[in-house]
Every structure is written in structure tokens, then in C-alpha cells.
């Protein structure tokens, strides 16, 4: 029993990332009808926002510390981050420690701006072109973004730590009445899951309870009629693109402590996220979220040693296998609507 709960918990954080990326992909597909292969790159840029904020905060200058000497007997030069000299050592250190959560504030405007530029500058011209062209041009864009990041940040993963408070692990076992240390779960993953749940809830609430969201949903159902009512639906869809980019970016920011950001993490997640979207049903937002968590949990179950000993290698292919079975038996995916991308 405890093993099962542990695997479910393990699946949640990866599932959250899948769900957030797939949610953005579905938003873009549902509103603009564009298949965005560059969405993984947005996720990666989000993660590098966290790296950038960490680097900015740790920008330092050197001071000569008279009280300490190096091994040659000269006064030691100590690097002092500007933040620490401005806010005092303790507050400064705390700010640096909280670089990743602070990066959220930094990432939101940047990701929205990138989303706007992408939509207005490039994707706008591809609405009328076939889906294959959209895939190809966004695939090209993904390569370019990836290479630009690689140029500035190098090819190696860059460790980006979570705040010290969240470094440890939480003992679920005690809480649920199992042995201590039976179910151990890092705090940051708990934070990630709650954060993802918050964002997903926020996006749904935004679409469900605001006038803006209502218009967007109406536009998703019938773009032409909404346009005839005198509403500038294109502008709202552009804003939705920015929002989807921000969701992917935030998913990336918070994922940075779980997995050190490297330039190809976007591509790695993209392939899986597309599979998630297809399993959930093209164009269905709840489907994307459901499939994201489901596949995340399935993946973590498949990586249990008990399962692996019966079906070796199943953990490597389970997601693809599920996708193939779903696509062949339930072509619309788990919660796909009728008439979306059917041919």
C-alpha cells in the first residue's frame, strides 16, 4: 500500500509538468488552431528565466577582507553579491536563496512578451497554411530558440537550487499511519504540485468565470460568429497565446530545482507533451490535464522494480504504448470533442 502511494506521489510532479505544458498546447490549439512545436522551447526558456534571476542576484564585486588571509598570507579577496551589500547580509542571502520563486515575477512579463512576439511576428501568418507547415515552422523556431539558449548558457545543465526551507523531505508515512521513512517526498515536489494545481485552477477559473474567458470559449466554439458580433476575437486569441506561453514558462521556472535546466529539456518534454495532448483529446483542456497526471503516474508505476522485473523496459515505453493504444481504440482521446482535427 505504501509503495503504491509513493508511486502516485512520484508521478504527480512529472505529471504536473506534463499537464501544464499540455494545457498550454491545448489552449493554443483550441483558440488559434495551431500546432505549436515550439512549446517545449517556451518551457525551457522559463527554466532559464530561473537561471538568469539566480545569476543576476548573485552578481558580485570583490572586497578585500583584512581579517582573513589566503594561504600566501595576503589579505583575502571575498566576493560580495550586490544584493547583500544593499539589503544587509541576512536579507540579501535570503533573497538569493529564494531566487527561483522570485523568478516567477520575472518570468511572467518575459514569457507573455515572447508569446506576443511569436504570435504576431510568426504564427499569425500560418493560420491559413496546412498543419504540416505549422509543425515545420514551429519546429524550426524550436531549434533556433534552443540554439540561442545554448549559445548564451552553454550545453551543460546548470544546477538551480530551491530555497533552503524546501530542501528536505516530508515524511508522508507518519501522516498516514505507516512506518516512518516508508513514504518520503521532497518538499519542493510538493510545492511544485501545489503550484501546478493553482495555475491549472487559475486558468480554468479565468476561462469559466470572467467575461473575457467566456468570449474566448465562445470563440473556440465558433470563431466566425463571435467575430460577427463585433468582438475583436483575434486580439483575445493573441492574449491567450501569451497566457499559454506564460503557463509553459512558469512550469519551467518551478521545474528548475527538480531537474537542472539544460538547453534540450524543452525538446524532451515536448514529445511527451504532444503524446499527452493526443491521449487527452485534441482541443480538450480537462483532457490535457487529466492525461498529464495519468501518464505521469503511469510512468512512475512502470518504473517500479516489481513491474520492471515482469516486463523489462516497460518504464521507457509505457507512455508511447498507451498513446498508441488510445489513438487506435479511442481516436478522439480520453475527452476529445467531436469534430476537432478529425480526418
Amino acid at each position: 500500500m505504501d509503495a503504491i502511494i509513493l508511486q502516485i506521489l512520484n508521478g504527480l510532479d512529472k505529471g504536473s509538468a506534463y499537464a501544464l505544458i499540455a494545457l498550454g498546447l491545448t489552449l493554443i490549439f483550441g483558440t488559434l488552431g495551431v500546432v505549436n512545436f515550439a512549446h517545449g522551447a517556451l518551457f525551457m526558456i522559463g527554466a532559464f528565466c530561473a537561471v538568469t534571476v539566480q545569476r543576476i542576484l548573485t552578481l558580485s564585486y570583490e572586497v578585500v577582507d583584512e581579517t582573513q588571509t589566503d594561504f600566501l598570507g595576503n589579505p583575502l579577496k571575498v566576493k560580495v553579491p550586490y544584493v547583500e551589500s544593499w539589503f544587509g547580509p541576512e536579507t540579501g542571502a535570503a533573497i538569493i536563496d529564494w531566487a527561483v520563486p522570485l523568478a516567477i515575477l520575472f518570468a511572467i512579463p518575459i514569457m507573455i512578451a515572447i508569446g506576443f512576439i511569436m504570435e504576431r511576428g510568426l504564427i499569425k501568418h500560418f493560420y491559413k497554411r496546412p498543419h504540416a507547415d505549422q509543425i515545420l515552422v514551429t519546429f524550426g523556431l524550436a531549434i533556433v530558440l534552443q540554439e540561442v539558449i545554448k549559445y548564451f548558457y552553454g550545453a551543460n545543465p546548470i544546477p538551480t537550487g530551491a530555497p533552503d526551507v524546501f530542501r528536505g523531505s516530508f515524511d508522508f508515512g507518519v501522516l498516514l499511519g505507516f512506518d516512518p521513512n516508508a513514504i518520503i517526498y521532497p518538499y519542493w515536489r510538493l510545492v511544485y504540485f501545489s503550484f501546478a494545481a493553482l495555475i491549472i485552477g487559475g486558468v480554468f477559473a479565468f476561462l469559466q468565470f470572467t467575461t473575457f474567458g467566456m468570449v474566448v470559449r465562445a470563440g473556440m466554439a465558433d470563431r466566425e460568429t463571435v467575430g460577427l458580433l463585433g468582438i475583436n476575437i483575434d486580439r483575445r486569441f493573441t492574449i491567450m497565446f501569451g497566457l499559454a506561453a506564460a503557463v509553459a514558462g512558469l512550469a519551467g521556472v518551478m521545474y528548475a530545482p527538480i531537474n537542472s535546466p539544460n538547453y534540450h529539456m524543452g525538446m524532451d518534454f515536448l514529445v511527451l507533451s504532444f503524446v499527452v495532448v493526443v491521449v487527452g483529446g485534441m482541443g480538450s483542456l480537462p483532457g490535457a490535464v487529466l492525461a498529464g497526471f495519468l501518464l505521469g503516474i503511469l510512468e512512475s508505476f512502470a518504473s517500479m522494480n516489481e513491474v520492471k522485473s515482469i516486463l523489462p523496459g516497460i518504464d521507457q515505453i509505457i507512455i508511447y504504448l498507451v498513446a498508441i493504444i488510445i489513438l487506435l481504440t479511442r481516436p478522439r482521446g480520453l475527452m476529445g470533442r467531436k469534430g476537432v482535427m478529425e480526418d
Partner: protein, 401 residues
């Protein structure tokens, strides 16, 4: 001739001339000159041109004709490589059985994947093929290690049985691949004319012959009723269904044929250099053949070959250029300007080649959906229009008479 009409036959002759004279064409600069770094006439690179040309021609039969965008074609190339290396390990070092087996195995594999994937079309097809290819890649990397040797990649060893050959040569090293007994794939003949040096390599000419065969077959397929049927699938599959025609056997045949081309490319790759690694199957490798085909011109005969040559040539050249070379080129400029220009170009060369490729690819998709071939046609048309313009101008004078 050979069942081709005049235009196609001329095109075939051009390709044949290019392939057979490649050691000359690709080595225009004397060996010692400063421009020698632009030479591409050495066997390793020429083999890559031709092998990827075959791969792209095969991909084009599927994508160019039927419009089905497969994102998993590298899996067939990888399977082809693995089977070829296994032939070298078990049977002997002759390349012909290895290549034959890799084509057959890749074909069977394509039949299996195509049978499942082709039940859906559009983006679902792309994702299904992607899923299958990633599955093969992940399996080759982990569980199938006894067959694929996992991360290290499959290599020849001294302990291989090689029942028709010998496990080791007389001096105790691993035998090399050969075409006929005694005719090694790597053996080459250097022709030195004055300052120029041209290398004729057995492996390259073997690949070139296969390229010509592959190209010839693809021309025949493009011009056949079968090719017509595939184009009909691309333009309107629904209408085909309404006329009561089942298109799946046709698309499946196209898929298997293009898978066999990929297998041939993989087999040749392993014959030139007898090792095979899982990274050949990764989806970025599948993306590369998509880039080649689109860049050259999908749906055209010569486009994929051009695209493959273009990408492989510039990949090689761009990777070789570094800051020192750039400084050499722009040395005639004032120092400040020189440094400025070098700094600007720096991200696009050397390791930044993929950035250049990505930008180029985007530009092609945006402005030139027909690829290099369409670009060429447009330029040709511009010239023709000019000359036609003068013609009509002359004509306009005449009616007055």
C-alpha cells in the same frame, strides 16, 4: 530510355554525372590553397552526401507524394544499421548481404509500424510515428542492450564468429568491410594532377551506384500510376474514399518503400563504418531528414538530394570555420570593424551551425515552401520572363506592319 521520358532521362543523366564525377566537382581548389577548406571531395563526406541523399529520396516518396509527415523515419535507418552490423558479426565482412538484409529488415519493420500508424492521418500520424520511433530508441538504449549494445553502440569485436570470414585478420586485428574478396570498402585511389588531388574511393562509388538506383526507382514511382494514386491521396483522400477506393494499401506500400530506402541508407552507413548506435534512431535524426527534404523541395525529384547535399556540406564547412578563419577573411577591414563583424558572425559558425540551419529552415518554410527547387525555378522564371518580355516587345512592334 529505360522507361523514362526525355526530360526525366536528362535529369537522371545530370544526377549520374554529378554522382560519378563528384570527386572532381567537389574538389575545385588545389590542395595547398587557402580555399582548400571548402573542398568536400574526401570519401567520408561524399559518402555522407550520398547516403543521406538516399534517405531523403525515400522520405520524399512518402511525404512528397502522399503528404503523410512521418517524424520517426530514423528508426528504420537505425534498424538497418543494426542488422548490417549483425551480418558483419555473424556472417562475414562482405557488404552486399549486409545491405540486402538491412533493406529487408527495415522493410518488415516499416510494414509493422506503417500498418498501425496509417490508420490515422494528419498530425495523429506524425505523433504515432514519433511515438514508435521514440519507443524503438528507448528500447535500443535500455532493454535491448544484448542486441544493440546500449549506449556504447554495436561494434565488431575479435570474438565474433563470422562463419564465412575470419574472426580476426592474420595480424590480429578486426577485419574490414569489403565489396569483393580483396576489394576493401575503404581502399581508395589518389589521382594527383598538378596541385590538385582527387580521391576515388570504393565505398563512395558503391554508395553512388545505390543512389543512382534509388533515384531511378523514385523517378519510376513518381511517373507510375501508383505515384499518381499517391498524389491523389495527398490532394484529397476523402474524395478517393467516396469513389469507393481503399487508399490504405497504397499509402502502406509507400510507407514500406520509404522505410526500405531508410534501411538501405542505414545499411550503407554501417558498411562504410561498421558500427551502429541508438542515437541514429532519435527523433532529432528523424527531424534532420525532414529538414533535408523540405529544404531541397518536397515532392520534387531532385529536391531531397539537393537538400541532403546542401545540409551536409554546410554542416561540414560551417563547423570548420572558427574565429581565426574569419579574422583572416576580414583582415582587409579596419580593426574595429573587423572585430565587430567577427563578433556578429561568431554565433552562427562552428558549434552554432544548428542555429544557422534553424533560421534557414524557417525562412524556407515561410517564404519558399517549395524549397531550393522552387527557388531555382523562380529565378529561372525571372530570367525567362525578361527574355520573353523583350520578345513580346519585339512582337508588339511587328503587328503594325
Amino acid at each position: 530510355m529505360f522507361g523514362l521520358d526525355k526530360k526525366d532521362f536528362n535529369l537522371f543523366l545530370v544526377v549520374a554525372a554529378m554522382a560519378l564525377l563528384a570527386p572532381f566537382i567537389l574538389n575545385p581548389f588545389p590542395t595547398d590553397s587557402a580555399l582548400a577548406q571548402f573542398n568536400a571531395g574526401y570519401p567520408d563526406l561524399m559518402q555522407r552526401f550520398v547516403i543521406f541523399g538516399i534517405f531523403a529520396i525515400g522520405f520524399n516518396i512518402l511525404f512528397g507524394l502522399t503528404g503523410y509527415l512521418s517524424f520517426g523515419h530514423a528508426a528504420f535507418l537505425g534498424v538497418g544499421s543494426y542488422s548490417a552490423v549483425w551480418v558483419f558479426k555473424l556472417l562475414g565482412m562482405n557488404v552486399l548481404p549486409a545491405i540486402a538484409l538491412s533493406v529487408v529488415v527495415a522493410g518488415l519493420f516499416a510494414l509493422l509500424i506503417g500498418f498501425v500508424s496509417l490508420r490515422r492521418s494528419g498530425i495523429y500520424f506524425s505523433i504515432l510515428t514519433l511515438a514508435f520511433a521514440q519507443m524503438s530508441f528507448n528500447l535500443a538504449y535500455s532493454v535491448l542492450t544484448p542486441i544493440t549494445n546500449g549506449e556504447t553502440g554495436l561494434q565488431l569485436t575479435l570474438n565474433d564468429p563470422r562463419i564465412l570470414g575470419s574472426s580476426a585478420t592474420a595480424d590480429g586485428s578486426i577485419p574490414v568491410t569489403n565489396l569483393l574478396p580483396g576489394l576493401e570498402i575503404r581502399s581508395a585511389y589518389d589521382l594527383v594532377i598538378g596541385p590538385w588531388s582527387f580521391t576515388f574511393n570504393v565505398g563512395y562509388y558503391l554508395c553512388a551506384l545505390f543512389l543512382l538506383l534509388a533515384f531511378y526507382l523514385s523517378v519510376r514511382i513518381f511517373r507510375s500510376p501508383f505515384g499518381m494514386m499517391l498524389r491523389a491521396v495527398k490532394s484529397n483522400q476523402q474524395r478517393m474514399h467516396y469513389t469507393g477506393l481503399n487508399t490504405r494499401p497504397y499509402t502502406l506500400a509507400a510507407f514500406v518503400i520509404s522505410g526500405m530506402y531508410a534501411g538501405l541508407a542505414g545499411g550503407l552507413m554501417a558498411s562504410m563504418d561498421p558500427l551502429a548506435g541508438a542515437e541514429r534512431m532519435q527523433w532529432t535524426a528523424s527531424g534532420e531528414v525532414v529538414l533535408m527534404t523540405i529544404l531541397g523541395g518536397a515532392g520534387t525529384l531532385i529536391g531531397p538530394v539537393l537538400g541532403a547535399g546542401f545540409i551536409k556540406y554546410f554542416e561540414n564547412i560551417f563547423s570548420k570555420i572558427n574565429d581565426n578563419v574569419l579574422h583572416g577573411w576580414f583582415a582587409f577591414m579596419p580593426d574595429g570593424l573587423e572585430d565587430f563583424i567577427v563578433t556578429i558572425i561568431h554565433p552562427f559558425i562552428g558549434k552554432g551551425w544548428h542555429l544557422t540551419l534553424g533560421i534557414l529552415f524557417m525562412l524556407v518554410v515561410i517564404f519558399l515552401p517549395g524549397g531550393l527547387v522552387e527557388g531555382g525555378q523562380r529565378i529561372a522564371k525571372m530570367f525567362r520572363k525578361k527574355s520573353e518580355g523583350t520578345d513580346t516587345h519585339v512582337d508588339a512592334k511587328h503587328p503594325a506592319e
